[in-house]
């Protein structure tokens, strides 16, 4: 028996909140711009939900950053995968 595999949510680091606050937007405002419920935005910001590629691209577009600036793999994950 190995360790419990990490979920997608455990592997991804996001900077949605940083970028949103930089623009002075509320969660509701960003949620409306990308077409999701404001609760979903909370889950996204807390890293409890991994968006689809389409939603990730919409978020990046709305926040005016590239997708790589918004989402990245966590450092420790990179090390694990190299081993």
């Amino acid at each position: 028996m190995g360790r419990k595999p990490a979920t997608e949510e455990d592997l991804i680091l996001n900077h949605i909140e940083d970028n949103r606050t930089r623009l002075g937007w509320s969660r509701q405002e960003l949620a409306d711009r990308v077409g999701v419920h404001y609760q979903t935005m909370g889950y996204l910001e807390r890293g409890e939900y991994s968006p689809s590629l389409v939603l990730a691209l919409r978020l990046a577009q709305a926040l005016g950053v590239t997708i790589e600036q918004l989402f990245s793999l966590k450092e420790e994950t990179n090390h694990e995968s190299k081993e």
């Binding site: 077409g35 999701v36 419920h37 979903t40 889950y43 996204l44 409890e48 968006p51 689809s52 939603l55």
Partner: protein, 168 residues
């Protein structure tokens, strides 16, 4: 789309928008309230079936409570379990689909238990050399059987969703 359908669609859209932005029912959305609602739903289900076994009439009281709990459960999770796909975002859709899988597994368990009970009953009758099986049921007892299946089908999707959301 006909003008009548367009009107209905617009009305539904308005209702969904109100429901999604609603904060007046936030007291039903706390962890404690959500857990309490699910437990209350289960208790009302058991009470409805039990009371109808003994009485044709008094079972309507827990039954009415079941419907009240059902409405509160729906409000608690903003009807995510019942809304058409086009009104849900991708997380809500994923959540809804997972909920229906879990609800299906649970209802499968309930139906299996009843089927097994029926099988055991017939076996016991065979062992006792009963010539033909008889089910002498009163109207209330038939109601108990009906609600035993119908209430979980009604409550389960919203109840499972509410329980899951309470844990977050």
């Amino acid at each position: 789309m006909s003008p009548k359908n367009e009107k209905q669609e617009a009305a539904l859209e308005k209702r969904v928008a109100t429901l999604m932005a609603d904060t007046s029912w936030n007291w039903t959305r706390t962890t404690l309230a959500r857990r309490a609602l699910v437990i209350l739903g289960v208790l009302c289900w058991v009470a409805t079936c039990t009371v109808f076994v003994w009485s044709d009439i008094w079972g309507v009281i827990p039954l009415a409570l079941c419907f009240a709990v059902y409405l509160l459960l729906r409000v608690s999770v903003r009807s995510i379990a019942d809304l058409p796909d086009r009104f849900l975002d991708e997380r809500q859709l994923k959540l809804r689909n997972r909920t229906y899988l879990q609800a299906y597994q649970l209802i499968g368990g309930v139906v299996s238990v009843m089927a097994l009970a029926l099988l055991l009953f017939t076996i016991s009758q065979d062992v006792q050399k009963v010539a033909s099986y008889r089910f002498d049921l009163s109207f209330g007892q038939v109601e108990a059987v009906v609600w035993f299946f119908f209430i979980p089908m009604l409550l389960l999707p919203s109840a499972v969703l509410t329980w899951d959301e309470a844990g977050r």
